[in-house]
């Protein structure tokens, strides 16, 4: 991480009681986000990446048990009363959701949904807020913004709606934007537009971005630093070039090598790990990845590895200390 810590998460656990027992969505997680940093969090469904984002904003719901610490600069966010939390979220921390159609209010015009943020957080008049909304829509490259402000969400395409979501998230110039799979529901050419929009806005405003995705391709395109999540934990964390050049966790290696590429001749078979991510209500003892791991040691089945430094600004949670490379060998 570069720069001073903006967001510091320590020992965060999010769990839900269920009929099948306690579901541990996030387990003892530590993470820091620096000012102006573009951090990517990659993981499969059920890895806890969305729960992590929701817990920062206090959106995990009444049934969730959230423990640990989440600090914005020096202010503890966990346990903050709703009123105080409302002064942080939407203002200093904002969120872009995966599906803009369900995140936008279908009954309200676009203009109202953007200016509402300013009316609440900045106490601006309707008219001043509207002028800022027009400029914000221009900043996210929506043509003819005056007309768009008068439209309803259903009148916009998916890409346009996501631009509106980003406008809402950025209009208060927050210190951090949390983005949960913001380009996943979009077509590939529109996805590329949205990713470059994030990069452009970050360069212009200096806001930090935490982008959650299942797509390593999106990570490779956009972010500075990557945290890889598996079964509620960060299993590897490194600057993006370092992570792709020298993955050190067997799961990262598997993710990276199992993706077919458009820019390389096709292999006979894709290197692939067996099995599926574990049921978060029935996590194995020890390392949660051990049942699928090609490098499993006896200790992995009993002791969960801690996230430890394995190189310069490179962390991994794995007992195996030797070289990786077995997956490629296994496939050919």
């Amino acid at each position: 991480m570069q720069g001073a810590a903006l967001l510091t998460i320590r020992g965060l656990s999010v769990s839900y009681p269920s009929a099948r027992g306690c579901i541990d969505a996030v387990r003892e997680l530590d993470l820091q986000v620096g000012a102006g940093e573009f951090l990517g969090i990659v993981g499969e469904s059920g890895s806890g990446k969305t729960q992590l984002l929701l817990s920062v904003l206090g959106l995990t719901g009444a049934r969730a048990q959230v423990r640990g610490s989440i600090r914005l600069h020096d202010q503890e966010l966990l346990g903050l009363p709703t009123g105080a939390l409302n002064r942080v979220r939407g203002d200093r921390i904002s969120m872009v959701f995966q599906d803009p159609m369900t995140a936008l209010n279908p009954y309200l015009r676009i203009g109202r949904q953007i200016s509402e943020v300013l009316c609440v957080h900045r106490k601006l008049s309707e008219r001043a807020a509207r002028e800022r909304a027009v400029r914000m829509l221009e900043a996210v490259h929506i043509p003819d913004p005056e007309r768009r402000l008068r439209q309803y969400p259903h009148e916009l395409s998916g890409g346009m709606r996501q631009r509106v979501m980003i406008a809402i998230a950025l209009i208060t110039e927050p210190e951090i934007v949390l983005a949960d799979e913001p380009s996943t529901a979009l077509d590939v050419t529109v996805q590329a537009q949205i990713l470059s929009l994030f990069q452009e806005l970050r360069a212009r405003t200096g806001t930090a971005i935490v982008l959650v995705t299942h797509d390593l391709g999106v990570i490779a395109e956009a972010v500075d630093r990557v945290a890889v999540m598996y079964a509620g934990r960060i299993v590897e964390q490194a600057p993006v070039l370092e992570l792709f050049a020298h993955p050190r966790h067997p799961y990262t290696e598997a993710l990276q090598q199992s993706i077919p590429r458009i820019d390389a001749p096709r292999p006979q078979q894709l290197p692939s790990i067996g099995g599926a991510p574990p049921d978060p209500a029935r996590l194995p003892a020890g390392c949660a990845f051990a049942p699928r791991c090609l490098y499993r040691l006896p200790v992995c089945e009993t002791l969960s590895p801690a996230l430890l430094e394995a190189g310069a600004d490179h962390f991994k949670a794995c007992h195996y200390q030797g070289a990786l490379g077995r997956l490629r060998g296994a496939a050919t």
């Binding site: 537009q193 490779a220 070039l241 050049a245 820019d263 292999p267």
Partner: protein, 331 residues
Amino acid sequence: MIAAASESGGRLSVRGLHVSYRIAFGGRHTRLPAVHDVAFDLAQGETLGIVGESGSGKSSIARALLRLIPADSGSALFQGTDLLALSGAALQAMRRHLQLIFQDPLAALDPRMSIGEIVAEPLRVFAPQLDAAARRERVLQMLQAVGLGAQHLQRYPHEFSGGQAQRIGIARALIIQPQLVVCDEPLSALDVSIKSQISNLLKDLQRRLRLSLLFISHDLAAVRFSCDRVMVLYLGRIMETASCDALFSAAHHPYTRALLQAAPIPDPVAARARRKLPLEGEIPSPLAAPSGCVFRTRCPLAIERCARELPKLRTVGDSLVACHRAEEVVG
């Protein structure tokens, strides 16, 4: 083991396919054109990828060929029979050769049927002469071919993960030995580490059974891995068709090139080094398709001629491409 489809036939030849939907628009009924004059051939044992963004007509082509929706016009010769002209008992008899693998594997399985019943159902319909023991034997063989086993027979869909459910969907589609299988985004709903398992499985079965596959996907990298040839669609029209090798080494349509440039590459060095000309705007409404070339409103190479004259598919390099300026497209 499961026998390969017979060597004769298995070839599909589609010509002049048009599909449209009746919709209410502005208070009156009108037709929304979804597929416009699509033609292609599919050989036995070949996998053809159909790529394009949402609204490009990929699924409409597949659904029309499988007779799940009506086509406006066109023909689809399969083993000497026009699929689009069949009706009644002849159509029903043909359906055993045409199967579909769905995008959302759990939604495609009846939650009240056991896995054994789900996979056996096509046999009950199309091979009623088999007795229960023979049927069970075939179901077991098929489950083993997709990496499942006898222990799964009595279980129900909700007990399975997405990847396992897709294996069940594949088993159900292949158990009656179809010759033409349409895979409609078969990997899109799956997690990354599961995608590679299912990609490998589909490819392995396709080779062993010499299936003809239509592989519908928006994921170009998955298409490159799974397909022999690719057809690129935009607003219901074919923009370019070529072998995978040709298309991924030298695309000749500006839209294909834009898709390739927009597709994420899981390698930050390569991803950040490549030339990027992100395509502006979004796919237009099919109710207001541009004149001439439908892609011209987003095309960086568009000239006045493109608005006037519909480009015909023609051979450029190793591609069939519908673009007036295809010779100038590089990469």
